[in-house]
């Protein structure tokens, strides 16, 4: 709780042209009881900042309201040691978007100052709680990605524990005859040198390797995980800070590909089996040992197929091309056929495709109809050439099915977390872990646990190695952040974390169920057991709690309630309705600022309140607003559903559920539920902002003033 709050009003950037700044100072000082309040023409410049520092010192301020530009701008400048800083957005929120000198514009500015002062009364600068890390990373999986992760995460003061379930390191690459791109003449990538990688890992003193071992259990939280490793009958217990999951993949189960002839004869093999044949130097027909003279490759065998794997495994086209080179190198006369949907050789892999095309291999865009024993002892393949619309019939010595990749984690637990919300990483689809896979591909829903390699998404070995490096970075970086008491992505550096006033808890379990990051466990009665280092500080628990027992030092039910209660609500005869817009601070707030950048006119009856995430929306705020005579409440958050854009996974979705519940209650109380509205606002929807507000105000006008108005 800030006790001595100063208010500094900036008159620059057109603010003084739009509003009477002296009145704002007077309101802060009089009505809102600021310890000090004053105006300056350019707060963000040297002189303005010096003035603020002086005032902070002479008055012993622990809270400061900067009534100037948007909180998105100049956050570095307006940062003072040990002082809680709040912002009243007079530039983007008033001067750039409202009619200068108008009475409604002035009222808006006054409210923004009142709201920031109100919030500050219930907020303080968080201090954070540093923890002592073990400086140890656990890497699960000793394939290319895991080896790479182990190598990069080790060093400096950090140790790595590498757990591999097989008896040797190397993972799937051990089974390959040749490795892309190292052995395939794809210019100068030195990266996929498996032996080199293994010997580097062996030479690194900070890495401890457990082979023939699995993780039996992980309990605790980042910077304090207790891990049990099962190695044969031995159990090894140790402490780690963070985890990289590089558990790899397995081939799609070819037994399900009977329609392509698999299982009926040894002369239909998978690409994995063919690789082994090549590695063993046995390029012969399995049934009788005849030298191979003709081979047909079926691409997408069980891939891009709703009955099997709906996705593309990304590497199988390249793999078949590589395998054709084995055949052509052994005997250039070998007839090679490829039945494909699309040949997918991104980037430099295109060169291999071109090279193989020149060997005379025949590529047929088509669908395989049947694979049966042929008249001449080979396999008779019937297919349709979809380009020519003609049937193709060919008898070959061997059929190779290019099967895809399935993440190990689809049906195998590898982490075995003792979390209330389950033992593994929540998945996005097909067994791959959920993340914001475009902008923040490593961010899983479990803090301090990062996936790498083919367990994260289908990828080739070179990408797997790079991916291991990326996950290692995150694993090491999160130790750094967490040990300082800081949040990891996306609120990186945030020192606040939720306090639970547990004596008032009614064990309803909403918080433990809704936390998107599995941060909360439960005791037997259902009381939440917070794990601060698992927390991402989104405030979903704060929004969920019906008893309102969750709060952050710098963000709480009370601070927002006080902002709402600080709004001056004119009586109904003044015909000045009031709307509160609770807006996601990453996207909706930015969109409103961008509307201001473009000088769009915004309805002056709306009072915008930034929220960490719409998931932190607590229904008590509706009661606060309606009982004060506010006419409408708007929730502005991210798109939700399958292609959700919320950076806390489902904040806006949870807010929507809560809002629907309140609407039901309002209906029962014969109050208009239309006074509540949620809109999905993308950050680039700035052009729609004026309309969004106007539409809502229009609806409220239809409904008439809030009956609770004075």
């Amino acid at each position: 709780m800030a006790e001595k709050i100063g208010c500094f009003v900036c008159s620059g950037c057109g603010i003084a042209d739009a509003v009477d700044v002296d009145t704002l100072v007077a309101i802060a000082q009089g009505e809102k009881k600021a310890a000090t309040a004053m105006c300056h023409e350019a707060l963000c410049q040297k002189e303005g900042l010096e003035l603020m520092r002086k005032e902070i010192e002479s008055h012993g301020l622990d809270g400061v309201v900067v009534a100037a530009c948007s909180g998105r701008d100049k956050s570095n400048e307006f940062d003072f040691e040990n002082v809680y800083v709040d912002r009243a957005n007079l530039r983007e929120g008033v001067a750039w978007t409202h009619e200068p000198g108008h009475e409604d514009t002035q009222m808006l500015a006054e409210d923004l100052v009142r709201m920031a002062m109100g919030r500050s009364k219930f907020a303080s600068r968080p201090k954070g709680e540093p923890v002592q890390p073990n400086n140890r990373v656990l890497v699960i999986g000793g394939g290319m990605a895991g080896l790479s992760a182990a190598l990069y995460a080790s060093g400096f003061d950090r140790e790595v524990v590498l757990v591999e379930k097989e008896d040797v390191l190397g993972g799937f690459a051990n089974h390959l005859h040749k490795i892309y791109p190292k052995d395939m003449d794809l210019r100068a990538y030195a990266e996929t040198d498996l032996d080199g990688l293994i010997s580097r890992v062996a030479g690194e003193k900070k890495i401890t390797v457990y082979t023939g071992a699995e993780v039996g259990r992980i309990s605790g939280a980042p910077a304090d995980f207790d891990v049990t490793i099962n190695q044969g009958s031995d159990k090894i217990n140790l402490k780690v800070d963070t985890v990289v999951v590089a558990a790899g993949w397995k081939p799609y189960d070819a037994a399900k590909l009977g329609h392509l002839g698999y299982g009926t004869t040894p002369d239909v093999v998978t690409n994995v089996e063919f690789e082994r044949m090549a590695k063993e130097g046995k390029l012969q027909r399995p049934s009788d040992g005849k030298a191979l003279e003709s081979v047909l490759f079926v691409q997408c065998a069980g891939s891009r197929d709703d009955n099997h794997l709906p996705y593309c495994s990304n590497v199988c086209c390249g793999a078949s091309l590589k395998q054709i080179t084995y055949l052509k190198e052994a005997n250039p006369q070998t007839a090679c056929y490829v039945i494909y949907k699309d040949i997918r050789t991104p980037g430099h892999y295109e060169e291999v495709y071109k090279k193989v095309q020149k060997t005379g291999a025949l590529f047929i865009k088509g669908e395989v109809e049947s694979v049966q024993k042929g008249a001449e002892g080979g396999m008779a393949v019937q297919a349709t050439d979809v380009l020519l619309g003609e049937p193709v019939a060919v008898e070959v010595d061997l059929v190779v099915l290019a099967t895809g990749m399935v993440p190990t984690t689809l049906d195998t637990d590898v982490l075995n977390l003792t979390y209330r919300q389950g033992p593994e990483l929540p998945e996005r689809e097909y067994g791959f872990p959920n993340s914001h896979f475009i902008c923040f591909p490593y961010e899983t829903q479990r803090t301090g646990i990062y996936a790498a390699g083919a367990v994260r998404m289908p990828m080739d070995l070179a990408s797997g190695m790079d991916d291991g490096a990326g996950a290692a970075l995150k694993a090491v970086q999160s130790i750094e952040l967490i040990s300082q008491g800081k949040a990891t992505h996306p609120r990186v550096g945030d020192l606040s974390f939720p306090n639970f006033a547990l004596q008032r808890c009614t064990q309803c379990k909403r918080c433990t169920e809704e936390c998107p990051f599995g941060a909360l466990d439960e005791d037997i009665k259902g009381t939440p057991k917070p794990n601060p280092t698992r927390c991402r500080r989104c405030g979903v628990c704060m929004g969920a709690c019906p008893e309102r027992i969750v709060s952050f030092d710098n963000y709480s039910i009370n601070s927002i309630s006080e902002a709402i209660k600080s709004i001056f609500v004119p009586d109904e005869f003044e015909e000045k309705p009031r709307v509160i817009a609770l807006a996601c601070e990453n996207d909706a707030i930015a969109a409103i600022d961008m509307a201001a950048h473009n000088s769009l006119r915004i309805n002056p009856f709306v009072r915008v309140i930034p929220v960490r995430c719409l998931g932190s929306f607590n229904i008590i705020w509706v009661a606060d607003a309606l009982s004060r005579g506010v006419d409408g409440i708007m929730l502005m958050g991210c798109k939700y559903g399958d292609d959700y854009q919320c950076h806390f996974i489902k904040g806006s979705e949870l807010a929507n559920t809560r809002m629907s519940n309140v609407q039901d209650t309002l209906d029962r109380l014969m109050l208009e539920s239309e006074r509540l509205r949620q809109v999905e606002v993308a950050i680039t929807d700035y052009d729609k902002i004026p309309q969004i507000f106007d539409d809502f105000l229009e609806k409220l006008e239809e409904l008439g003033p809030n009956p609770y108005k004075d």
Partner: protein, 414 residues
Amino acid sequence: MSSKHTSVLVVGGGMAGVTAAIETAELGREVFLVEKTPSLGGRVAGMKQYFPKLCPPYCGLEINYRRIKENPRISVLTSATVEKIEGKSGDFSVTVSVKPRYIQAGLCDPKKPFEGLEATVESEFDYGLGKRRVVGIPHEQAYPYLPVVSESALGNPEIRKQLENTAGVDLHQEPKTMVLKVGSIIWSTGWVPYDASRIGYLGYSRYADVVTNVEFERLAAVNGPTGGKLVRPSDDRAVKRLAFIQCAGSRDENHLAYCSSVCCMASLKQTTYIRNAVEDSEVYVFYIDIRANKYESFYRTIQEDKKVHFIKGKPGLVELDPASSDLVVVSEDMESEKTVRVPVDLVVLATGMVPATREQKVPYDGVSYDEFGFLVSDPFTAAIIPAGCVKRPVDVAASVQDATGASIKAVRNG
């Protein structure tokens, strides 16, 4: 490793560079991020949406910019280029030249002082399809959020005169040179679109209504030259029929021999721009293979749209029908084995990515490139660590992935 300097230099402030800088700084290292334009964000800042989520790039950039603002370890240098690199891993001296913004020091109002100045120049951010004011903040989400005088305006004597009389503008500012001492260097200068004018038969230089995929992003973007309305550059006619020509200059020995790996998904995404906005619109996609490797289900959804027609074939000509002012795409259709002529309003060439390092080499001896200009390096010993599209042609997600890995390489190698 005993390094003299532990700070890291990141060159190029697009998605890869921004990521590398932040990830490295959040690991506790000092970082200098050098970007040649006046704002960070690179190519993605000009895009309407990402595939496959159809979410705006500004959203992720917003989070990243906040991470930069809150991290005192990152120094961002915009309008800056690296002139010279000397030394070795652990002990580099890097000469950086920084161009002025020509805005008076201490001026905080980024808008008002320049409102009277109406003159415009061609907007590079819009690939020349639109105009921008000669002074202003580059775009809604520019970082840093500061005005800049457009360099191209300085050559125009008349505009120069107006600028001289504008309060807040200071044309006497000089470029500055500084020497940075760093331990390692991440090179993430990104890519440039392949020059479509070199594919003469596709009509890019002849017809204003043949545009590239990056230009089409600007035409569809709400902050683009048309405010997001899909109209033809030549005559403002609403676009209803649209053709995408895949592999325009890609997988082609005469142009780019490799596959840029993103153009198929980019075009599939762009079909949604018109299909979601224009009722009864028709889209034709001319392709060799559809390479939707990572996002098959997105491709599937587009395939189900009866108004999107996929034609396997390589167009040989784009010509104008003077009577209707339609553009006509002439192509083989491998399915019917016939030549098809498809009249459309606008043609989008799905051009590929050329690594920026093909033309702009790293000013340091001992850096190697492949025949296409991509950087080639050893991950454990490289003095200059590549990240993103200077290494391989990749999408945003893979670029971020690579940049994150590059950060730990920089910390270890340096």
